[in-house]
Symmetry: C2
């Protein structure tokens, strides 16, 4: 049933690309006319979100099929390398025990009494503190988030940056995406307003810009320099946009990068702040991967809050963080926050009003944020296990990223920047002319054609580079570094790649 | 600090009503210009959400003040009667044990083994079933929601209505609001598109219509007939809108009503479906109070799905439900769903795409939905406690509603429909001329003036009728029936009301 419905959808998605609908009628519909795409906000029709697009839907069909006998597929499991979802089935990154123990004790506080021997004393104490402050996690909280959690976030930021943070400027959210969507909805105020986004970018940005009728203003990252951000390119993109009648309102920086994994040096950040300042842009700093650093001593994370705050710059900043990434990996709990800085009280008041319409972020996510920003300290009963678990996740991710990049770079026609941050690799692939022709014949972009073939043959689900944007004439795909058993996984990739090249060799 | 920031906001909200900003500049801003309201999407400036508006913000200031010594306020606690938040501090409706035990065991599955004697065997079994299906609640789920939960929802609907439901037409959400916002965003496709909403309405609808630039098309509920919905009034509103160049796209029905508590009879529902059919409207059925019925045998809940499904009507329907209301009251977990019916596969596909951009609803809310729609059955080890707890909540709410309505009706100049459903009363108040004059002098609507005075004197926070809409020349306020100790609570109301009338008596 599920598979059939999915198939229907795929077919209808195809049909949508070739619409036969007449132009929009001004009068209301006659009796019994069904609702058609003609009746729908055209902005939503333009939204694309490749991370959960055609490949993900096909992978889900295969996953259903694998549950049946005689499925006749050439693989026995799906590897969901398309999305940074560490705790997904098959990847199974273990949640951090401290965080889950607190979650259980806030959901069912009776356990603090009847099962207290099952939990470390600091966990019990923290849960009691949260339960006293929050009341019930089944109650709506303050629309900005529980005050005690916002205080913990502000303290975390202040300690990270050596620069103060105000709990009243913290807005908890259901993951970072919710905050990004609100800010884009706010900043796009008239036709022709645009937001600068990196290329390649995380497709949330183009999807949300499409939804809110904003113009994406792309600036290209430099693959030859390990996906460096060049402030001059950003400025060129602004100048080009202005000439074309687009008004830049905001500048999105993803640091560490997604899908690139690059980590910005402070010197470049200062120049980017200067560009934002000169053109009156709001800086939207997507910093959800700030704790995913594989070359920490040489490539540390510096926050835009620190750069802007410590320089006395007046550039308006909104920075985003999340419990979904890092070593927390708690995607399903939907927790995150954004901090506003150099934003006036009346704009903060507007943000508060808009957040209040959605009532409040999920309390489970808010408790997750508390655990992320205020983990056990050395000497606490929970500390040793927390340290062991989080170190192991950091180490495994760094090792996998390194090994995968090395092996990808050894494949014919593949070059891959060894990401110093985030959860992904974004290899470039050079495909023979015959592969391009076969893709065109199948009505697919060459990278989508490659990724679909990879899925069909190996069960590995990735996202084609066209979903993120890429320099003209180049082809990439994004894959996560979350799958254990790199040997088997990359072995499948290598075998597929060789076979693909052999099949289409010129 | 929190109080000061709130105060700043209040002042800035006031400032916003008297803007001094110059008209929008076409060129980009000069250096160092701060972000102003001028740069913000004007649609968002128009959003109003009274449930968390001026009164709620003032109540929060008072709550902070109450924590200080010598606060000099004439009350010692805030009664948050402004919002249907049963588990809020001070109201403290206990969560249903079954639901919270399942939550704890999905957050921290180890407890299924190490603490199994602390949980009934059916709870352990259910948690294991969910954990096996979901994997980790820290992983993104399917964007429509976990398949097993959608199956449970479909079964619940089918059993409720005696009419089948398809898990592929169920979309889990973070509370009902998220689904409502998406549908309104979808249906408002061009300037002049509108949605029919009842007056009084739940302000989510006007807020979301303002956000997405839709026109609210009001139809008046009949207070003299216990807030009945008259299909002829709906049709009149449609005709009026068409004459004014507004194109009706959807019809919102809140059943049981919010703030009115009225419960629709099936005969009226059939006529409303007929109106939707004749004018090609999508019926948006807000049915989040379907389990809050105080006069169940005489005024039962009938779903629009049943009415439309069993009649073979082709009217497109989207119906919303939530774990926030009913006896679950789990507002903070942000769980809900909507079901689409008579909606084409390509529209469902579009909805799926839009849901996928937000990745997935919070797993904690999804697990909450599972517990709501699939509670313990008679004979299960958990059943007796579940029955006892939920019966007690139903009974207390029905009793409080009845007693409060009786006592409100005895107050001078007050008339109040005894709500047969939902969580609220919406009394009408007739105020003396001098009170109207004092309100005008204070720059407030008379009902807001009354509600503010009530808060200042008693700490009871309500929402003025103007936040919901009301027939011209009438005044109301909404208060929840969630506060225990009705005697003390209504006693305060009575004393205040008498004093207010005496003060302003003509």
């Amino acid at each position: 049933m599920a598979a059939n419905a999915m198939l229907r959808r795929l077919l209808h998605t195809a049909a949508r690309r070739n619409p036969k609908y007449s132009t929009r009628s001004i009068s209301y519909k006659a009796n019994h006319m069904p609702l058609t795409l003609n009746d729908i906000n055209p902005a939503l029709l333009k939204v694309e979100y490749a991370v959960r697009g055609e490949l993900a839907i096909k992978a889900e069909l295969y996953a259903q099929k694998l549950k049946t006998d005689n499925h006749e597929l050439p693989f026995d499991r799906i590897i969901t390398a398309n999305i940074g979802n560490p705790q997904a089935k098959g990847l199974d990154q273990k949640p951090v025990t401290f965080s889950r123990q607190i979650a259980a004790l806030t959901e069912y506080p009776e356990l603090c009494e009847v099962a207290k021997d099952l939990f470390p004393s600091d966990v019990i104490a923290r849960a009691k503190e949260l339960n006293a402050e929050i009341g019930s996690v089944g109650a709506y909280s303050h629309s900005q988030g529980v005050p005690i959690v916002r205080k913990s976030v502000a303290k975390f930021i202040a300690e990270r940056d050596g620069y103060p943070a105000d709990p009243e400027s913290i807005f908890l959210t259901a993951g970072a995406s919710e905050g990004v969507a609100l800010l884009i909805n706010m900043l796009i105020s008239a036709p022709g307003d645009g937001i600068l986004i990196p290329i390649p970018q995380y497709p949330l940005y183009t999807a949300t810009l499409a939804q809110y009728r904003g113009v994406p203003i792309p600036y290209l990252l430099d693959e030859a320099k390990e996906w460096a951000t060049d402030p001059a390119s950003v400025e060129e993109a602004i100048q080009k946009a202005l000439k074309e009648g687009t008004k830049p309102k905001g500048l999105v920086i993803i640091n560490p990068g997604n899908p690139t994994g690059s980590v910005l040096p402070e010197s470049i950040m200062k120049q980017l702040v200067d560009v934002a300042d000169r053109y009156g842009l709001v800086l939207l700093a997507d910093e959800v991967y700030q704790d995913n650093l594989h070359q920490r001593p040489s490539q540390p994370f510096v926050s835009f809050k620190k750069v802007i705050g410590s320089s006395g710059s007046k550039v308006p900043l909104v920075s985003f963080h999340s419990i979904s990434k890092g070593v927390s990996g708690e995607c399903g709990r939907r927790g995150g926050y954004f901090e506003t800085f150099n934003i006036s009280p009346e704009i903060n008041s507007l943000i508060y009003k808009m957040r209040s319409v959605t009532l409040c972020p999920p309390l489970s996510g808010q408790v997750g944020v508390e655990c992320l920003v205020r983990p056990p300290k050395a000497g606490d009963p929970s500390y040793d296990l927390w340290k062991k678990e989080t170190d192991a996740i950091h180490e495994a991710l760094a090792n996998r990223t390194k090994v995968m990049a090395e092996r990808l770079n050894k494949m014919e026609g593949v070059s891959c920047v060894d990401s110093p941050g985030a959860l992904y690799l974004f290899p470039q692939i050079r495909l023979p002319k015959k592969a391009h022709e076969a893709a065109a014949a199948a009505g697919k972009a060459p990278d989508a054609f490659y990724s679909l073939a990879l899925l069909d043959e190996t069960g590995i689900c990735t996202v084609p580079g066209s979903g993120f944007g890429q320099a003209e004439g180049t082809l990439h795909y994004r894959l996560t570094c979350l799958c254990e058993g790199v040997d088997e996984y990359v072995g499948k990739l290598e075998k597929f790649h060789k076979g693909f090249l052999d099949k289409y060799r010129d």
